[in-house]
């Protein structure tokens, strides 16, 4: 039995429309891939002055901004862009939610090199170390590394590492050794010695005590 002509005409029309849609879809996708704009930054606020207008949802907005930041970073990385808005976005995230640890870590690790802006990273990290985030020792460590690498300021670097040692969960014995070595390089061995003695006296961990004692002996011998 032959299908009625009406049904056949409908089937052919649907198939034709489907084929045209398929072709148009592929053409549009290909044009868009060559003219792709980065994720819109239009709704990234200028400053944290908008905080009162967020009606208490500033942390949720910080989360949203953080997602936009990572998308922006990815798109700039893939297109070899200049990361123009990156510092401002990370800064805003940490202003809106001062306890947002990943943003601080990102600032410490990426901003000095990627955006070539160690000053901005230092300012954001200084905000981080005065906040109540967990893993604060890492932020002190990154700050110390920025002082050491970009400012060639070994004394401040050593002071930051010394602060890192005193934070909860810090890998004390390793950091203490690095901090003491840094003090020595900065031309302040007596401060390094004082710092090691302080760690030795205050630490309750026998492993740390043993490690620091070894460092102290090596330090005294070197002097």
């Amino acid at each position: 039995m032959k299908p009625p002509r009406k049904i056949l005409a409908f089937a052919v029309s649907f198939a034709a429309i489907g084929a045209l849609i398929f072709a148009a879809q592929n053409s549009l996708t290909s044009i868009r891939s060559t003219h792709r704009a980065p994720p819109s930054m239009a709704f990234v606020p200028q400053s944290d002055k908008i905080k009162p207008y967020l009606l208490g949802f500033h942390t949720a907005y910080a989360d949203y901004l953080w997602i936009r930041t990572t998308l922006y970073f990815g798109s700039e990385y893939l297109s070899g862009g200049q990361y123009t808005w990156l510092v401002r976005m990370v800064d805003l995230v940490t202003r809106l939610n001062p306890d947002f640890y990943p943003a601080y870590e990102f600032a410490g690790l990426m901003i000095p090199d990627v955006c070539n802006d160690p000053d901005a990273a230092r300012v954001i990290l200084e905000r981080g170390v005065s906040s109540s985030v967990a893993n604060k020792w890492k932020l002190w460590f990154y700050l110390g590394m920025i002082y050491y690498r970009y400012y060639d300021n070994k004394k401040d670097a050593a002071a930051c590492l010394a602060r890192a040692v005193t934070q909860p969960d810090a890998p004390g014995f390793r950091l203490a050794g690095v901090a003491a070595a840094m003090f020595r390089k900065a031309g302040a061995p007596e401060e390094g010695l004082e710092f090691l003695s302080f760690v030795y006296a205050t630490s309750e961990n026998p492993e740390v005590k043993r490690y620091v004692q070894g460092k102290l002996q090596a330090f005294t011998k070197a002097q």
Partner: protein
Amino acid sequence: MKGLRMRAIFQIAVNTFKETIRNNVLYIVLFFVVALIVLSVFVADWSVFARIQVMQDFGLATMSLAGLLLAVFIGVGMLGREVSQKTLYQVITKPISRAQFVCGKYAGLLTTLLLTYAAMSTMFLCTLVYLGGTIKLSLLCAVLLIWAEMSVVISASIFFSTLTSPMLASFFSLAFYVAGHLNDLLSIKLVAARGSLYPRLLTAIYYVLPNLEHFNVRDNIVYGIVLPPAYYVLALVYGILYSALFLALSCVLFDAKDL
């Protein structure tokens, strides 16, 4: 004969247009759009970008959302109301086919939306010029693409309203809009998809669902990335094809419906 058919569609379109411009929802949505466009002047001041760029982005986003609200709340209720209030019987007892009725309704609603977009665009462009911006052709093309996107959404909402109750049809239309905008993500997911069936299923969904992101050129306007004219033409053709598809399906379903 063909002229008579077109005349019937035209008459239904005119009636639908008159009916929709009397709808209060239209004016409420228009009021909020105008208010939001005026308020966008302050939003633009908060942004890291130049206020003109933010104003453009915000204005276009507002128009898109307003179109969606109108398409869903007026489009879905249209057929359902004709059936529930039994006004449909007065029309289909005349020498007018159900397909002509559906096409007429669609054309009427599309005209209302065109008029609404003309009003919103005038307000938007006036605010833009007041702030020191310039009216570019790409901006007008972006508005045209939003209208094309809404024509697809309206055809989909008519399709859903022939299938189910107005309440569910509204829900499906909103879901269709969201899924259409998320369709772009499927192309990314396809790259990572493994297995024999899963990637094929994703590909099928990707091609069956319209990719409404093709009508969204806001980022390109904000960043000044010029799209070739062929893109706008293709996007319009894409919208027309999807609208035709949904409308044809609606006509078939409405024709087979037991009223």
